[in-house]
């Protein structure tokens, strides 16, 4: 957790106009020419020395993308994205493959240092030995502008049989695994942004945990978008083989810019029999300025396939950034007795827009799912929970519990809930509870009369509100997430 913990440690004050990660780093980068066409797709594939099958896979996706319409059904509004004005590949010039830390561009390392990412394995180890507090070792894959820069702890993980590397590297070193699983949860035909991603994705993390192995440490990826006018299209693939367990953590920042930047990622998780994957995200992309200008468009497709019997996938997210968030981390409960969980805190402030939620698709027998979603809207933001809970005709004994709560701070924001609940057999039990509330003046005054200032009072009340979800996070992460929440609400209390 050290990566995210230290990241959040650095976030001292981050109201919408003082986003602390807004700095831009002067790093020489290599870019493909602007715009998107088959040549660009081939360029990207060639840069990575990809095998023919993968190049074809990308091209098919690209051709399909040309026939698709951009969806506009979400409760978000944005200017049309100028697809031909973007760069679809930007890589720091020196990063042409896995390197030892000595060979990485020192400027790049400085960026990560500034962000508090511990790339130096020794530093992490020393930190653990010296410190009395419970800090675990975390393997970090650092991705800078679409390219994985370095992955730590690879040797140690390899001893356990765990493969944790960039997906580009996995294509070279474990092509059979990638070929078997890539696109099996989110096919290139899935949706407009996933299709685009399939065509132009440049990197992301790949994890494979062999049968019966409990991954010996938390795995983490840290994403940073630096170059302007680039889209970031990362692709992550995590496979937990039979009886395996892995916990994975993802964190993100981006510099302040006047233009919007597109982040259209795809994450696929596969859990085989008796396996478990825990996927946690702290998202703090640049949210745009106080007038709502600029900011990241976070249009992500994340899906987990509980392929095996008794498998389990849980998504935990704390989303505080992005100008627009559009994502539904979902679970396909295919295996009998499989379980899906979704725990979310989504905060919007300023002019941010969030249309987020989950899908739990019950297919196997006696499958269960649990959804706890806490939306907090402040400023002039709009925060929508959209969920789909469905059970197939043959999914007998399906159970779901959903609790989605919205909290409004101030008078100019909006919270909305759009639940779709579809039960196609008689033994399904789906429960849904929803509340919408506002931080009352009385609550604030009560807290303030006891000594808390307005912001401390708001943070306390909000923490109480999100407590159920915070309890799902790994312990140190929960403490830091609390700080991040407090900080992202700064300026929301008049």
């Amino acid at each position: 957790m050290a990566a995210v913990q230290e990241t959040i440690d650095r976030v001292k004050s981050i109201d919408v106009s003082e986003y602390k990660y807004g700095f831009f780093s002067e790093i020489e980068s290599e870019k493909a020419p602007k715009g998107l066409n088959e040549d660009i797709v081939r360029f990207i594939s060639a840069k990575k020395n990809e095998p023919e099958w993968l190049t074809e896979w990308r091209l098919e996706a690209y051709r399909r993308w040309l026939t698709m319409q951009e969806p506009r059904w979400a409760r978000v509004a944005y200017e049309p994205i100028p697809y031909q004005e973007l760069y679809y590949y930007a890589a720091p010039k020196t990063a042409a493959g896995p390197k030892s830390l000595d060979e990485v561009d020192p400027e790049l390392l400085k960026v990560y240092e500034k962000l508090g990412i511990p790339l130096n394995e020794r530093a992490i180890l020393a930190g653990v030995e010296g410190a009395g507090e419970a800090s675990s070792r975390v393997a970090v894959d650092a991705v800078f502008d679409s390219v994985s820069v370095i992955t730590t702890f690879k040797e140690e993980l390899a001893k356990a049989g765990v493969i944790f590397c960039s997906i580009s590297e996995a294509v070279r070193t474990h092509p059979e695994l990638v070929r078997k699983y890539l696109g099996s949860v989110v096919p290139p035909t899935d949706n407009f942004f996933a299709t685009l991603n399939s065509a132009v994705y440049s990197d992301g993390s790949f994890v494979y945990v062999p049968p019966g192995v409990r991954c010996p440490m938390e795995l983490s990826t840290y994403f940073r978008i630096n170059e302007k006018n680039t889209g970031q299209f990362e692709r992550t693939l995590i496979i937990a083989d039979k009886g395996a367990y892995v916990s994975y953590l993802e964190g993100c920042t981006a510099p302040k810019r006047d233009e919007n930047q597109l982040h259209a990622a795809v994450v696929e998780l596969i859990a085989l029999d008796d396996a478990e994957i825990k996927y946690s995200t702290v998202q703090n992309w640049y949210p745009g300025d106080a007038e709502g200008k600029g900011g990241i468009y976070n249009f992500v497709t994340k899906r987990g396939d509980c392929r095996g019997a008794n498998s389990k996938i849980s998504w935990t997210q704390v989303e505080t950034g992005s100008a627009i968030t559009w994502k539904y981390p979902s679970c396909i409960l295919r295996g009998d007795n499989s379980r899906g969980e979704f725990y979310s805190i989504a905060i919007s402030n300023g002019h941010q827009q969030v249309d987020s939620g989950t899908k739990m698709i019950h297919l196997g027998k006696n499958t269960t799912s649990r959804v706890i979603s806490k939306g907090i809207a402040a400023g002039a933001s709009q925060n929508t929970y959209r969920g789909q809970i469905s059970s197939h005709r043959k999914a007998t004994g399906a159970r779901n519990f959903t609790n989605c709560d919205s909290l409004l701070i101030g008078n100019d924001c909006g919270a909305h809930t759009v639940p779709y609940i579809e039960a196609h057999n008689h033994s399904t039990q789906f429960e849904h509870e929803a509340t919408t509330s506002k931080i009352s003046e009385d609550q604030l005054f009560y807290c303030m009369q006891r000594g808390l200032n307005a912001e401390e009072a708001t943070a306390l009340i909000v923490n109480g509100f999100v407590r159920d979800v915070l309890q799902q996070l790994p312990m140190e992460f929960a403490v830091e997430a609390q700080k991040l929440i407090a900080v992202s609400l700064e300026g929301s209390v008049g």
Binding site: C447, M448, Q449, G451, A454, E456, L460, F465, R467
Partner: protein, 250 residues
């Protein structure tokens, strides 16, 4: 010591407090009694700093300092405590967490270091025992699902914990049965010192049998209309407020 001088307060264009004057000396327990609508709660809210009240004139001096310019949390740091008539619920926040947050916030404002966990726990346990607060109540979210008696006891517990210089009890007796009333009164009485002052707001004189006041003030029409000793409470019990109200209206 609290001095309220020529205080006039309005909400919108309705004047609620009219040129009110009141002094509560160090170590004194002063009771304010009066009919509904006389402005008793308004007085307590304005002293504590609740927003939405417009002070059109006057001062509120706590140990010589005008607190009207300070935010509610700043006033708390100066030693002001208001025991609410209707304590609010704070879901998801345990009482323990709340106590720690508020105590440390006040200490921070005063430039004092935060209490260590062991010291904090010692203090909590000492205060809890006196007010018959069981530990499971402390683990529950603040006031959520508490009975009326539990809420009031919890507020007095917080008061005992924060050790204010000046405490206002706003209709603390409302909703309490005899036993709860006794426990609350014992808790308050245990906090009476030469330097701490109390302003006890109530309709009924029954509470004042347990928390015996040094002075009783009658409030009607937004001002103090009569002051006396504790016998005044008994007189009010016998004769009611009508004379005072009529005099104000006239």
């Amino acid at each position: 010591m609290l001095e309220v001088k020529n205080l006039s307060v309005s909400i919108g264009d309705r004047e609620i407090l009219k040129d009110l004057n009141l002094t509560v000396a160090d170590g004194e327990v002063a009771a304010i009694m009066g009919p509904n609508g006389s402005g008793k709660s308004t007085l307590s809210y304005v002293i504590a700093g609740k927003p939405d009240y417009e002070v059109t004139s006057g001062e509120v001096l706590l140990d010589g300092e005008n607190v009207l310019d300070l935010s509610p949390d700043e006033r708390a740091a100066k030693g002001l405590f208001l025991a609410f008539q209707y304590p609010v619920e704070i879901p998801g926040v345990t009482t323990m967490t709340f106590l720690k947050a508020t105590l440390n916030a006040i200490r921070r404002q005063r430039g004092e270091p935060e209490l260590s966990i062991p010291d904090f726990m010692k203090r909590v346990n000492a205060s809890a025992a006196k007010l018959d607060i069981k530990s499971d109540l402390l683990k529950r979210a603040v006031n959520v699902g508490f009975s009326g008696g539990e809420k009031k006891r919890m507020d007095i517990f917080q008061m005992a914990f924060l050790e204010p210089r000046f405490a206002i009890l706003d209709e603390t007796d409302s909703g309490l049965d005899i036993d709860a009333l006794r426990i609350v009164a014992d808790g308050v009485n245990a906090l009476r010192t030469k330097t701490r002052s109390f302003l006890v707001i109530t309709h009924y004189q029954r509470l004042l049998e347990y928390i015996v006041p040094d002075k009783v003030h009658v409030m009607a029409g937004g001002r103090i209309v009569r002051s006396g000793g504790k016998e005044l409470a008994l007189e009010l019990e016998k004769n009611g407020y009508r004379d005072y109200v009529e005099a104000e209206v006239a």
